[in-house]
C-alpha cells in the first residue's frame, strides 16, 4: 500500500514536470521527424563508393582466385571496400550490425563445381537497410557472372581456367554461375526508411536520458532535507526507494507508449507486428537507465559532475550505437566498445523484432543489458556503500 502510494506520488510529480515532459516525449517526436526526413539519404542515395562489403569463402580453388582478382580490379575498388571475413556467421552478424552493408559468399565447392561443369552459386547477402547498396553490389557481381571472368575456354573442356580479371570480357559457353541474392530480413519486410531507423534510435536514446530520473530518484531524498522526513517515517527506506523507482518506471511506460503509438499513426513508422516485445526491450532499457543513474549519483562528487557524466555517456553511447547515423564498426575497437553501449543492444533487440535478424542476437542483447544493469549495481555497492548505508 505504502509502496504504491510512493510510486503513484512519484509518477504524479514527474507527470507535472513540464520540462521533463517536453524533453522526454515532445523532443524525441520532433527529432524523429527531423532526422528521419533530413537523413533519409543515408538509407536511399548518398555519395556512392567505398561500400563496405564482406567477402567470405572456404573455397581454396581457382574459382576463389579468379573472383578475388576480379574484386581487386581498380574499377571495382572505386566502388567497394572489400573486407575479408573469416567466418560466415560473423559475416552475417556484421551485416546485421550494419558493419557491412553486403556480404558476398562463395560456397566451399565453388571451384570444384565449376571444374565439373556444374551450376555454382555466389551469394550476396544484405541487411535490407537500403535498396541501393545491394543493387550496386549485385550489378557488379552480375557483371562478373555474366561477363565471364570465370569461364571455360570454348573447347578446352572442364577443368581449364582462363580468368584474366577483366570485367566485361565475356565468353559464350561459360559454365552457368547463379547469383543468389538474399537479405537477412524476412522476405515480407520493406527496407528500412530513415524515419523507421530514427524512431528506434531516438526512442532508445531518450529512454537512456532517463538515467537522469534514476539519478534524481536517489539524490532527491538522499541529499535534501526530505531525507530526515523519510528516514523518520515508519516505512522501510528500501520500500520507499523501490516505490519511487516504480513511479519513475511508470513515466518510462508513458514515454515509450506515446513515442511508439504517435510515430506509428502520425508518421507511419514501421513498428512491425511485435509491439509488445519492443515495449519489453524498451522497459528493460529503462531498468538499465535507472540502475546507471543510481550508480552515477552515488559515485559523483556533486550534482554537476553527475549531470556531466550522464550527458557525456548518453551521447557517446548513442553515437557508438549508430543512433545519430549508421556507422561502420568494422572489426576493430569500435566493434568491442559498442557492446558497452546499452543503446546498441536495445536497438539490436528492437531491430530483431522488426526485421528478424540472426538467431541469438536477441538473447545476446538481453544478456548484455542485464549484465550492464548488474555492473551498475555492483559499482553502486562498491563506491556508494557509505551513501547507501545513510539512505537504506
Amino acid at each position: 500500500m505504502k509502496l504504491w502510494k510512493i510510486a503513484y506520488t512519484t509518477f504524479l510529480r514527474k507527470s507535472r514536470d513540464k520540462q521533463e515532459l517536453l524533453t522526454s516525449i515532445l523532443l524525441p517526436l520532433v527529432l524523429i521527424l527531423i532526422l528521419g526526413s533530413a537523413l533519409q539519404g543515408n538509407f536511399t542515395s548518398q555519395t556512392l563508393g567505398n561500400i563496405p562489403v564482406g567477402f567470405y569463402t572456404e573455397d581454396e580453388g581457382p574459382g576463389r582466385e579468379s573472383f578475388e582478382e576480379f574484386l581487386e580490379h581498380e574499377e571495382i575498388r572505386e566502388w567497394l571496400n572489400i573486407i575479408p571475413v573469416s567466418d560466415y556467421e560473423e559475416g552475417v552478424k556484421m551485416v546485421n550490425d550494419l558493419d557491412l552493408l553486403v556480404l558476398i559468399s562463395l560456397p566451399p565447392d565453388f571451384s570444384e563445381r565449376i571444374s565439373q561443369g556444374l551450376e555454382a552459386e555466389i551469394e550476396v547477402l544484405d541487411a535490407g537497410v537500403s535498396e541501393l547498396y545491394p543493387s550496386i553490389v549485385n550489378s557488379i557481381v552480375r557483371s562478373y557472372v555474366q561477363g565471364g571472368n570465370l569461364y571455360f575456354a570454348v573447347g578446352s573442356g572442364p577443368g581449364q581456367w582462363m580468368g584474366n580479371g577483366n570485367p566485361g570480357e565475356g565468353t559464350e559457353g561459360a559454365t552457368e554461375v547463379q547469383l543468389i541474392e538474399r537479405n537477412t530480413f524476412r522476405g515480407d519486410n520493406e527496407p528500412i526508411r530513415g524515419i523507421d531507423y530514427y524512431a528506434v534510435t531516438m526512442l532508445v536514446m531518450f529512454v537512456m536520458w532517463g538515467i537522469f530520473s534514476g539519478s534524481q530518484s536517489l539524490t532527491e531524498d538522499l541529499f535534501t532535507p526530505m531525507k530526515i522526513r523519510i528516514n523518520t517515517a515508519p516505512v522501510s527506506r528500501l520500500n520507499y526507494f523501490i516505490g519511487k523507482n516504480f513511479g519513475v518506471l511508470g513515466t518510462f511506460i508513458v514515454q515509450i507508449l506515446t513515442i511508439i503509438l504517435f510515430t506509428k499513426y502520425a508518421y507511419g513508422v514501421n513498428w512491425g507486428e511485435n509491439i509488445l516485445p519492443i515495449i519489453g526491450i524498451s522497459l528493460l532499457l529503462s531498468f538499465v537507465a535507472i540502475s546507471l543513474g543510481i550508480a552515477v549519483a552515488l559515485i559523483s562528487p556533486s550534482e554537476n559532475a553527475s549531470t556531466s557524466i550522464i550527458n557525456g555517456f548518453v551521447v557517446v553511447a548513442t553515437y557508438i550505437a549508430g543512433g545519430f547515423f549508421p556507422i561502420n564498426h568494422g572489426e576493430g575497437i569500435l566493434s568491442l566498445v559498442r557492446n558497452f553501449s546499452p543503446n546498441y543492444h536495445a536497438q539490436r533487440g528492437i531491430f530483431h523484432f522488426l526485421y528478424g535478424t540472426e538467431p541469438g542476437a536477441l538473447t545476446e542483447s538481453i544478456l548484455w543489458l542485464l549484465g550492464i544493469t548488474l555492473f551498475a549495481f555492483v559499482i553502486s555497492l562498491i563506491f556508494g556503500r557509505r551513501r547507501i548505508s545513510e539512505y537504506l
Partner: protein
C-alpha cells in the same frame, strides 16, 4: 517518560558534538533546547531519531529503544525538520496526504486527519495550491502539518521558525501551545531566546555538546547573579540629580543618557522608594521607570561568556 538519554556521546572525527549528555523529558512538556548554532541541538535530535550513529550512550523514546522498535516508535513521533522538507510539485493536500499514508492512515480517517492538519496550521483554504506559491511562513506551517497529521505523542521541532515574518512566527508559536494543550509532548529547539522563553515549560541550555543548565525559565534565571537595571524617565536630567542618586548605597551605577537616567543595582536590592524620593526632592517630574529583568540571553551570556547568536 517521553525521552530518556544517558551518557550520550557523538563525535565527528576529533570534534565532540555530544559530550556525555544526560537528558530526560516528561510527558506533556514543551521542552526547549536552547543554544547557539553548533551547540549540538540538531545532532542531539538526529541521535534521538536514529538518524545519526552515536559512539556510546543509552536512549529510550516513549519508553522504547528506537533501534529495536523502529517503526513502532516512529509512528508516535512527528518531526519538523529545520530545513523545509516539502515537495513543491505536490499540492499542500497531496504533501500531507502522502505522509499520512506513510504513517499508516487509510480511507476516511486519513482524509479527515489531512483536512484537520491543514485546518490546524491555517492552510485549509490553500490545500489545492502548490507550495511554490506559498510565502515562507506558509511553507513552514505546511512543514508542521506534515509532521502532525498522524497525531503523534511526541513532536520534535527543530528551529521551526527560521527565516519567517513575525506574524507567521506568532501563529506557529500559538499552534505549538495548542498542540501541547492537546496532550502532545513537544521538543523545541531554537536559538531564538524569546521563543523558548515564551512557550517552553522547561529549558535546557546547550553549549559545545553539553547541557550547561536546565530547569524552568525562573529556575534558570536564579542561577545567575544578575545586576538589575532600571531607566528613570524625567525631563532634562542634570548632574544634580545624578549626584543625589549616586548617594544611594544600593545603586552600583548611575548614568545619564538620551533615554533617561540608567540605574543598576544588585539582585534583590531594588531601592525604588529612595529613588522616587530623591527625584521628588530634586524637583523633577517622574514620567516613568522601566525595569529590566534578567532573561535567558543574560543567563546564557553569564554561563557561556557568549551571546546566543555567536
Amino acid at each position: 517518560m517521553v525521552l530518556n538519554v544517558k551518557d550520550l556521546v557523538k563525535r565527528y572525527g576529533e570534534e565532540t558534538a555530544i559530550d556525555h549528555l544526560d537528558l530526560s523529558i516528561d510527558e506533556g512538556e514543551i521542552f526547549g533546547l536552547l543554544g547557539p548554532n553548533g551547540a549540538g541541538k540538531t545532532t542531539l535530535i538526529n541521535s534521538v531519531l536514529g538518524l545519526t550513529k552515536t559512539e556510546s550512550g543509552h536512549m529510550e523514546v516513549l519508553g522504547k529503544k528506537l533501534a529495536s522498535n523502529g517503526n513502532g516508535v516512529k509512528k508516535e513521533i512527528g518531526v519538523v525538520p529545520q530545513d523545509l522538507a516539502i515537495y513543491e510539485d505536490l499540492t499542500a493536500y497531496e504533501n500531507v496526504d502522502l505522509f499520512a499514508s506513510l504513517y499508516g492512515l487509510k480511507g476516511q480517517q486519513k482524509k479527515e486527519r489531512v483536512e484537520e492538519a491543514l485546518e490546524f496550521v491555517g492552510l485549509a483554504d490553500k490545500k489545492k495550491q502548490y507550495p511554490k506559491k506559498f510565502s515562507g511562513g506558509m511553507k513552514r506551517r505546511l512543514n508542521i502539518a506534515m509532521a502532525i497529521v498522524h497525531q503523534p505523542k511526541l513532536v520534535i521541532m527543530d528551529e521551526p521558525t527560521v527565516g519567517i515574518d513575525p506574524q507567521s512566527r506568532n501563529q506557529i508559536l500559538e499552534s505549538v501551545k495548542t498542540l501541547n494543550q492537546r496532550g502532545i509532548t513537544i521538543i523545541y529547539t531554537s536559538h531564538y531566546m524569546e521563543e523558548v522563553e515564551a512557550i517552553c515549560t522547561r529549558i535546557a541550555i546547550m553549549d559545545r555538546g553539553r547541557i550547561i543548565a536546565r530547569g524552568t525559565k525562573e529556575e534558570l534565571k536564579q542561577l545567575i547573579d544578575f545586576e538589575e537595571k532600571g531607566i528613570l524617565l524625567v525631563d532634562r536630567p542634570g548632574e544634580g540629580l545624578k549626584t543625589a542618586l549616586k548617594a544611594i548605597e544600593e545603586l552600583n551605577d548611575v548614568e545619564i543618557s538620551q533615554e533617561g537616567v540608567t540605574l543598576t543595582w544588585g539582585k534583590g536590592n531594588q531601592p525604588l522608594t529612595r529613588i522616587m524620593r530623591i527625584v521628588d526632592e530634586q524637583g523633577y517630574q517622574l514620567k516613568g521607570l522601566k525595569i529590566q529583568e534578567p532573561n535567558l540571553e543574560n543567563v546564557f551570556l553569564t554561563l557561556t561568556g557568549k551571546t546566543l547568536r555567536d
